[in-house]
Amino acid sequence: MYDAPKFLGSGDSCLVVEFSDSIEMEANFRLQNLMRALASKNVRGVREFVPTYRSLSIHYDPLKLGREKLETAVRKTLENLGGERGETRRVLVMPVCYGGEHGPDMPHVCAHTGYGENEVIKRHTDAEYYCYMLGFTPGFAYLGGLDETLATPRLKAPRALIPAGSVGIADRQTGAYSIDCPGGWQLIGRTPLRLFDPDDGERPTLIDAGDWIKFRSVPKDEYASIKRDADAGCYRAEWLMERNAVQG
């Protein structure tokens, strides 16, 4: 993490506040805190915030807000900003049906890692994952926290269509495809949850940057019954609210 964040221009209507050039949780906490603090100030002319691994993009309307004025507002906000995580954290429990038809690359991942299927599932469900950012496609969460022994290279030839909900591994990353799209991740399972719902005006994506995820292995029949409810819009995703230990 840099000693002081850098202010970088990105065209005539976006300011990038960069905290680090690598993936670090502390930097991510800080930029999320900055985002929340700035959002509560309702700076006139600010259009939206886009948090990424290591920087916060602030989109603004240059007809209403000058770059200098925005920088001043950000500097002021940074002065009183803590680096700590919030008091509570939200953990989404994501049911996943591993292997079989839903995880066609499970045999490959087992062969690559040298683990049996049960061990892959155990290691994948034991870890807790932090959502640094969303991107790539609507609702796709970039997660940190994969057990490094599960790291498996991408497919040599990407698939033309991967169904939404597919859970995969690509090198040291893991995640769930949020919409049907082409892709090259090694698919080990599938979640029945709807990760992106454009008709939900309040909450079009299930996960937000800053959330935590824990995978839970479910058998085929439970997958099917959750999927039925989720597609009908009547499944309530399970969230755990946990208190963070005070850092010190």
């Binding site: 005539d12 690598s22 691994y53 796709f140 454009p198």
Partner: protein
């Protein structure tokens, strides 16, 4: 049924000014490739600037209206006819129920490649996440999340009061954006300009680049001299804006357009100004562009100048509407 599509063109989309506020969820803004032409068309008709219209790329379309309305064609220079009779673009035309509007190929000037057919009242499709813009990759917004097809029946919203009085109004030529040969595409420094060598930066801002065939609503791939990196193009993903210029491993620039991904992992040397990105969107494969380095103040001045033009257009239209006329 306000209009039925007879011939859809090659890639005709419903667009308004975009789906703002959801980039943090990975949902791109979309919006017209040339927002200024769409906004001018809407103001000519007395619509709200954000009303949805049809964006056509390279070729036009043919539609039959189910009820009376006013239309205006803006953007690239395509020829338009109503019931078989040629009519000028940048002009408000009243079309009777059953009227057939055909937007065909280029006029002789062949200027631009994105045209906008705006309707009094604007297009009525259900807003998705606050916008009527079509995002085809995500299959959301617009008409069923896709480009128009023959047989589609598309609705129009109730026009604003006095809408018929704009009939015959033409946008003064000096207020229309036009392409010029050798027109510079203005760009500001990007967040990773330090990832490029001084020679690379000089190359980008001085040498000519040719628009390739690989252009779509997501990005424009350009060909020309290689832009040199200090130590490679890859970085930990960060945010992307409309107009971000990235240079992947081959050192050839890609300008990210309306349907850009929200985040990406290539170093960004520059970002094209909001005004110029719409000008670039009107370039066709084979066109040559040069990038001109400008400051934020200069970029903002381009936008203020457009706002002033828009204000003048609205004033001119109001005067036209209240002109004395024979009854």
């Amino acid at each position: 049924m306000p209009f039925r599509v007879e011939k859809p063109g090659i890639f005709t989309l419903v667009q308004d000014l975009g789906r703002w506020g959801h980039q943090s969820r990975g949902v791109t803004v979309s919006s017209p490739m040339d927002q200024f032409s769409l906004r001018l068309g809407n103001v000519m008709l007395g619509n709200g600037q954000n009303d949805a219209a049809l964006e056509m790329t390279l070729f036009g379309l043919e539609i039959v209206l189910g009820e009376e309305c006013c239309v205006a064609l803006t953007g690239a220079d395509l020829a338009m006819s109503i019931d078989g009779i040629g009519v000028p673009s940048w002009t408000v035309h009243r079309v009777k129920p059953g009227g057939r509007i055909a937007v065909t190929g280029f006029t002789e000037r062949r200027d631009g490649c994105r045209s906008y057919l705006c309707f009094s009242g604007g297009i009525d499709v259900p807003p998705v996440m606050g916008s009527r813009s079509t995002y085809t990759r995500g299959k959301i917004g617009g008409y069923k999340g896709r480009a128009l097809r023959a047989g589609d029946a598309v609705g129009l919203l109730e026009p604003r009061p006095l809408w018929r009085l704009s009939e015959g109004f033409a946008c003064p030529p000096e207020l229309r954006p036009v392409s010029r040969d050798g027109e510079s595409i203005c760009a500001l420094d990007g967040p990773q300009i330090d990832a490029f060598t001084d020679a690379g930066i000089k190359t980008f801002f001085n040498e000519p680049y040719t628009v390739t065939n690989e252009i779509d609503r997501m990005g424009y791939r350009l060909d020309g001299p290689v832009i040199e990196h200090v130590s490679g193009p890859d970085l930990v993903s960060d945010g992307i804006v409309h107009g971000s210029v990235q240079a992947p491993g081959d050192g050839k620039p890609i300008v990210l357009m309306s349907d850009r991904q929200t985040t990406g992992g290539y170093a960004k040397i520059a970002a094209v100004s909001t005004w110029s990105v719409a000008r670039l969107a009107q370039k066709m494969p084979g066109d040559v562009v040069r990038f001109k380095r400008i400051s934020e103040k200069e970029a903002a001045a381009q936008l203020f100048a457009f706002e002033e033009n828009l204000r003048r257009l609205d004033e001119t239209r109001a005067a036209y509407r209240s002109r004395p006329r024979m009854r």
